[in-house]
């Protein structure tokens, strides 16, 4: 504190000394004031040009007809909103969209609810057990999405998978040996969801555990003295205190799970029979596999538009929490 006051005094003094010519000093201050902006320039160029241009381009492409022929010749044919009317009138696209929403909703709800439960668990267990659970969760969390997908296929392998053996040896559900998990879309989605939730819980649980620790313990104690039950404490104290954090985690999960590609694609490439095609996969197949780049761009634009519903409040929340830092 004293140091800072002294430094300030020193700055003031030196500022008063060095002004032989007013114009020159104005030039100097102008230059020195603009130096900080130079520091922002590379990032600004990255965001506005390298990121901004593809964003503009995707909108532009969504209004054009671009097939392989146009891609090679470079000719542009504007088609107005034809790509949009086409996909919005396409029952397959609508089915894929509905499926993506359902898939995302299930993943988010499971991740948040189970993550909250694990956070509460972390709060109540013995220190040694907490360490064990934390390390186990870090293992799951650290697993790259791709290896997660490969490992889950091995776990759920129909012939030699350990899961089929485990269910069979429980003896309650009969024999599950040779049960194929990837035969129906629903079952395949179940495995993908399991994978995503398994990897998603740790981040949610650790964040919420941090949030729980930040709640002043006096609140709980006072409530307990007043005779509140554990359940009442959870609903009236813990949950309201965690609300901003929960909201943020829910937004993040929605954003991540809505556009997820790697886990869904690597599990069965959208199969069986296209039943696990979600929007990101649909855009990829339409664009890269079928060379309908205009239509694929339109799909991407619709995706972004749908995402904006959650993105806008999320970014507002994020900036609000950052203000006081």
């Amino acid at each position: 504190m004293i140091g800072s006051r002294m430094a300030k005094a020193r700055r003031d003094a030196s500022g008063r000394e060095g002004t032989p010519s007013r114009r020159r000093s104005r030039l100097v201050t102008l230059a020195s004031r603009s130096i900080p902006y130079l520091g922002l320039a590379p990032a600004l160029v990255t965001f506005l040009l390298l990121l901004g241009y593809p964003i503009v381009l995707v909108v532009q492409m969504s209004l054009q007809h671009i097939g392989l022929k146009e891609l090679i010749s470079g000719a542009t044919t504007w088609v107005g909103t034809a790509n949009f009317t086409r996909i919005l009138g396409d029952p397959e696209f609508l089915a894929v969209t509905a499926r993506t929403f359902a898939f995302m909703a299930v993943n988010v709800v499971l991740t948040i609810v189970l993550g909250t439960l694990v956070a509460l668990l972390l709060h109540r267990i013995r220190r040694s057990v907490r360490l064990i659970l934390s390390v186990a969760m870090i293992l799951a969390w650290a697993m790259p999405a791709l290896t997660g997908s490969v490992v889950f296929q091995w776990l759920f392998d129909s012939k030699l998978g350990v899961v089929n053996w485990a269910i069979s040896s429980l003896g309650i559900f009969g024999s599950w040996l040779n049960h194929s998990w990837f035969e129906t879309g629903f079952s395949t989605f179940a495995i993908i969801t399991l994978l995503i939730v398994w990897q998603g819980i740790p981040f949610v649980a650790f964040s919420l555990f941090g949030g729980i620790l930040a709640i002043p313990p006096e609140l709980d104690e006072t409530a307990r003295v007043d005779g509140a039950s554990e359940r009442q404490i959870f609903w009236n104290i813990t949950l309201p205190s965690l609300r901003p954090l929960l909201l943020m985690l829910a937004f993040l999960s929605v954003i991540w799970d809505f556009k997820v590609f790697t886990q869904v694609w690597t599990m069965r490439q959208g199969g069986p029979d296209g039943q696990t095609i979600t929007l990101s996969i649909y855009a990829y197949i339409t664009g890269l596999a079928q060379s309908q780049f205009g239509v694929a761009a339109a799909v991407s634009v619709v995706m972004v538009a749908l995402l904006l519903i959650v993105l806008v409040p999320y970014i507002r929340l994020m900036l609000r929490t950052q203000e006081d830092v």
Partner: protein
């Protein structure tokens, strides 16, 4: 239920949960070390007689050296670029008086949330047009854009966390502004820089979607692209597949254990204050 009994149940549930979280990772590693006859069996072997056969097989796949080199090259360059630009930006944001700071932060927030899965088509077209399609730099560019917002956000937080008073005190003692920053703030920033660098590296190392679409020649594959095609190429050689997965996961795991505390903080800073 008595207090003690309830505590025991809660701890037991936690141990079951820990088993569920850890099991897939355990199974990956354990399969990787199994001899073939302990994999090709209906009754699973939980503690194998360890062998390195699967690792040898995975590593001796054609082009494995190329994939490893490509992955390290791409992730390393991404890390370097993101850290360089991110650090410059973060220092400016945290230490300089700037107009339009809020607007810039908004831009960073938007960039961080940019749905890259929806930008594949335009990025593909741009890379084709500038002749970078099927070239490693195309991945570096995309990953750099992808990691920069978080890098700025995280580094800014770390720098703001170091009181400027410290620098000013050093300046009173005769240090220049730059000297004060380099000698006082920079050493304190070490852990934050390392954590952020690791985040960039892991993001680029793990990325599959763009690498899968952009890299068409086998020798340009990164490890994830190879790993995804591994199963189909080797039939159902789960031993070698798990060995490759283990090798790929290992560095990520080590890094993660080192910095996980900071990653939780970095992503949700401020949200707990409520």
């Amino acid at each position: 239920m008595s207090r003690g009994a309830r505590g025991a149940v809660v701890n037991a549930i936690a141990l079951v949960a820990a088993t569920l979280f850890a099991f897939p990772v355990y199974w990956m590693v354990v399969t990787a070390f199994k001899p073939a006859d302990q994999i090709q069996t209906y009754v699973p072997v939980f503690i194998p007689t360890p062998t390195l056969d699967n690792f040898v097989k995975a590593v001796s796949q054609p082009h494995f050296g190329d994939f490893l080199r490509n992955s390290i090259l791409v992730a390393g360059t991404t890390l370097g670029l993101a850290l360089l630009v991110g650090f410059l930006t973060a220092v400016t944001l945290a230490r300089a008086r700037i107009r339009g700071r809020k607007g810039f932060l908004l831009l960073v927030a938007i960039a961080q949330m940019a749905p890259f899965e929806a930008l594949l088509i335009p990025f593909y077209l741009v890379m084709r047009d500038v002749g970078l399609y099927n070239q490693l730099p195309s991945l570096v560019i995309v990953y750099f854009i992808f990691t920069l917002p978080f890098t700025i956000w995280s580094l800014r937080g770390f720098i703001s966390g170091i009181p400027i008073d410290l620098e000013e005190a050093a300046m009173v003692d005769g240090a220049s502004r730059l000297g004060a920053f380099v000698r006082v703030t920079l050493p304190l920033l070490g852990p934050g820089l390392v954590a952020t660098a690791i985040f960039c590296f892991i993001t680029a190392w793990n990325e599959y979607f763009y690498a899968f679409v952009f890299m068409t020649d086998v020798q340009n594959y990164t490890l994830p692209v190879w790993l995804a095609s591994f199963r189909t190429n080797l039939g159902t050689d789960w031993g070698a597949t798990m060995a490759a997965s283990t090798l790929f996961t290992l560095p990520v795991l080590v890094f993660f254990l080192a910095v996980q505390n900071r990653m939780v903080g970095g992503l949700t800073t401020g949200a707990v204050k409520g």
